[in-house]
Subunit: 145 residues, 2 copies
Amino acid sequence: MLKLSRLTDYAVAALVRLSAAEGVETSPGIAAAIGVPEPTVAKVLKLLAGQGLVSSTRGARGGYRLGRPLASINVAEIITAIDGPIALTSCVEGATGMCESQTLCPVAGRWDPVNAAIRTALENITLADMAQSSMPRGLRLNEVA
Amino acid sequence: MLKLSRLTDYAVAALVRLSAAEGVETSPGIAAAIGVPEPTVAKVLKLLAGQGLVSSTRGARGGYRLGRPLASINVAEIITAIDGPIALTSCVEGATGMCESQTLCPVAGRWDPVNAAIRTALENITLADMAQSSMPRGLRLNEVA
DNA sequence: CGTAATCAGGACCTAAACCGTCCTGTTAAC
DNA sequence: GTTAACAGGACGGTTTAGGTCCTGATTACG
């Protein structure tokens, strides 16, 4: 259904929350703030830390801190951090031998332009755009398209 | 993983095939042409027919015919026909009572601009664009973005 | 008029992916 | 030394999509 994973949703919530906190916040603290079970939030934060979107401090009184300002984080980065590279995974996945009927299949690498288009669209939306709940939809669209 | 369903892939293959056939072609015929099991192809074609992307003729010597030229069919239409409306289905799905912590959850309708951006990106790619296997990638991208 | 071919529409089952949890190890403050 | 927190991986339950099949309706052809 072209859906993104729920974890990505949590990631956005966590990042926005971290931005509001303006400092170090622990995983349990964030979990309580956004209303999501702690282990799940921890998992998301680990993934985000792996991509440098948040920086972590270990030990007591440690926690997570926003790696960059919201305006410089785009949606594509978050999705990539959580779900892996953005690709519509039809035949393109490098599945060896999966498509032995390549002579028949006329859809060889044809989704590539679609993938690219989606990627650029997502790269042009920053977390700062999503953070404003007022959401001036029509206006923002023209920036993207 | 932001992936689209495999059925959508089949749909594109079937439509391109129908365009090449330039006339009526049966469901088994298309299945053989694109190398996909017949029942699955039949399912896809029914979905496409429901949205008017292909027109069907029943009875013996019947079959499917392309509803419109490839250039006037965009990717968003196909995805919508197969997978339903394009929406990243986080909280937005109208799930009543699913998000009882709305006061906490700061991700209310925030994915809407993202959905819209993806939708417009997909609407700007036609099947004719996908049909050319040469795929001048960088050029086409600028048309979209 | 009957038979065969084809689409229409739904029900069903299997399989895979995701979500969420837990466990163990490492680091740093008190 | 103890406690609080992140790091990283492994595991099971649930959901969703993919694929198949069956029955009915429609039309060409003999």
